[in-house]
Amino acid sequence: MDTSIWRPILYLIGFMAFAGLNAAYLGWCERKGAGRIQRRTGPMEVGFQGLLQPLADGLKLMSKQLLVPTGVDGILFRVAPILAMIPALTSFAVIPFAGNIQARSVELSVLLLFALASIAMMAILLGGWASGNKYAVISAARSVSQNLAYEIPMLVTVITVVMITGSMNLQDIAVHQQGGFWHWNIFALNKSILMPISFIIFFICSIAETNRAPFDMAEAESELVAGFMTEYGSMGFGLFMMGEYLNMVVGACLVTILFLGGWDCPFGLFPGVWWFLLKIYILLFTVIWVRWTFPRTQIYKLLNLSWKILIPFSLVNLLVTAAFIKIF
């Protein structure tokens, strides 16, 4: 790996651009996707097929004043949206898009990603708390309990993967799965027959972790108005939205690397970054698809799902995998 100072910087700029484009255009994709599912057209007016809509929205948000209501904690209120955005951006530094496209290969990159994901949750907590709004405070409380419940099955599932590959480096994990879809962790039935289920568990958890519907209790517009974002306008709101989409992208990248073989082609042909992008966009589309299909869960039902179904299943999977590794 090249250790010159320019390489990470160039890569970072590239990833920033990638992240920025994703944050803007995932919103467009979501609106178009929702429109098609609901048999509407979605945005059509600004540019061809509404392609310039994100730009227009961004301009509108930026031209607005960031209102800081009286009675809020000024510093936290301003910091929270930035805090929602930064960890997601930082995460891209360690994600390997292909064998040679990675800003920095960190040995404990899996751990780093989860640490950063927890900071994103802190942003919601702080934003909700600092707003001094009752809806926002309820939302913050919900968000914390939800994240606590979901990180356990998520981490247990990751431990399973780490046990199989024997590394906590995302690059190594992806390399370990090269050579066709039968090598992917999702189909690693020789390691543990429950791997497809742990893929589903991990995917559900990553949706819950990013506060996406049907697990968007923190936002819950019909109950909590807009949850932690109630008091935010202009780019404060914009950053939260971008942070949400970026977290989605990071989640999709993680799922791809941990379970779907990273940049590997299903049939062993032309592995490369395009396979990686294809996989994450399929996953992102699924997330959007899920959001526009289901009603919202209720917070306690969600905790039930986590504690009664996801955690037992992931623990069983962990034990089975450990047994398989020990025996074979």
Binding site: A34, I37, Q38, R39, R40, K134, Y135, I138, A141, R142, A213, P214, D216, M217, A220, E221, S222, E223, V225, W292, T293, F294, P295, R296, T297, Q298, I299, Y300, K301
Partner: protein, 372 residues
């Protein structure tokens, strides 16, 4: 109810849900005292869209009050038309031609159908499902087009007249209605039941939530789908038949679970029954005039009269007190949701905020009708 908002000794806090809140479908305000997310006390505060229709009735003559009736329940405006017509016809002794009665039933049932469809859509929106709303609007739009053909308006109909209806229906309306029923029947199992009713998330959110027992339902005077979801077989169309309803074969869906899911199922089944009524009415539609000869200025005899109709939300009663003059001496509107909502405070006690909103959605509130 009387505890001041400040200086609470316990850990509770007051949350003002509304008057502008996405889940209250209008301008209902609910003062919630919460302990965490648990509701300690709920007090609905009404009157934000109160327009004193009863006073307006006293100032106008009988026919002039007609447009007001549509402005109360904007989702089932024709039933309010119907209820008011019934009470005035009862007072003035007006006979309605049979064809007019059939047209009334057809349009009222179509209106009930879209009222339930829109309730379903809005309820799913409360629960965070957005897509069903658009599917429902797709269907609703078909009916609105049909009703626009005959009544001329799309939401606040003023179609009924004393002794009949404003104008006749045409063949295109009849074929269009048959086509719509066929279409809705084909969409019902997928877009409605498979996508939503069978969904595990919805089932988990509604089952066992918001239980109104049969006794509570009676003590609070609940009617309509709320009562029928509590196991009470009560439908004005059957219990106190009016118009030509006795001539149709339809069932009153009753569920005994008493929870939000039961009320949901009652409404879903009622849509099917409404379609049955419409089909039968269209099949049997007699020929004849659609409006009886009625003097322009009515002067009913002294006395008081009551007439009830079944709206999509329950028993709508009109009490008309006449003193022999050309305007009502007193018109009392008994709106169904006013009574249905009154049980909210008792039932929602101890519920979670999210559940309480699901429960509130299942009551099918139309605020202008509560506030009148």
């Amino acid at each position: 109810m009387t505890v001041p908002i400040e200086c609470r000794q316990d850990e509770t806090f007051v949350l003002n849900l509304g008057p502008q809140h996405p889940a209250t479908h209008g301008v209902l305000r609910v003062k919630l005292t919460l302990d965490g997310e648990y509701i300690v006390e709920a007090e609905p505060v009404l009157g934000y869209i109160h327009r004193m229709h009863e006073k307006m009735a006293e100032d106008r003559n009988f026919a002039q009050f007609m447009p007001n009736t549509a402005r109360m329940d904007y989702l089932h405006a024709l039933a309010f038309n119907h209820g008011y017509c019934l009470v005035v016809e009862r007072a003035a002794g007006i006979e309605v031609p049979e064809r007019a009665e059939y047209i009334r039933v057809i349009t009222v049932e179509l209106n009930r159908l879209i009222s339930h469809i829109l309730w379903w859509a809005a309820f799913l929106l409360d629960l965070g499902g957005f897509t069903p709303l658009l599917y429902a609007f797709d269907d609703r739009e078909q009916v609105l087009d049909l009703l626009e053909r005959v009544t001329g308006s799309r939401l606040t109909y003023c179609y009924f007249r004393f002794g009949g209806v404003y104008n006749d229906i045409d063949d295109e309306f009849i074929t269009g209605t048959y086509a719509f029923i066929k279409r809705l029947r084909s969409r019902m199992p997928t877009q409605y039941h498979a996508l939503v009713t069978g969904n595990i998330i919805l089932q988990k959110r509604l089952k066992g939530i918001g239980i109104i027992t049969e006794e509570q339902s009676r003590r609070y005077g609940c009617t309509g789908p709320v009562a029928r979801g509590s196991g009470i077989n009560y439908d004005i169309r059957k219990n106190e038949p009016y118009s030509v309803y006795p001539e149709f074969d339809f069932d009153v869906p009753v569920y005994h679970e008493c929870d939000s899911m039961a009320r949901y199922m009652v409404r879903m089944d009622e849509m099917e029954q409404s379609m049955r009524i419409i089909e039968q009415a269209l099949d049997k539609l007699p020929d004849g005039p659609v409006k009886a000869k009625v003097p322009k200025i009515l002067k009913p005899a002294e006395g008081d009269y009551w007439a009830s109709v079944e709206t999509a939300r329950g028993n709508l009663g009109h009490r008309l007190v006449c003193d022999g003059k050309k305007n009502p001496y007193k018109l009392k509107l008994r709106s169904p949701t006013f009574c249905n909502l009154s049980c909210f405070a008792e039932v929602s006690e101890g519920m979670l905020l999210a559940d309480a909103l699901a429960f509130m959605g299942s009551l099918d509130l139309v605020i202008p009708e509560i506030d009148r």
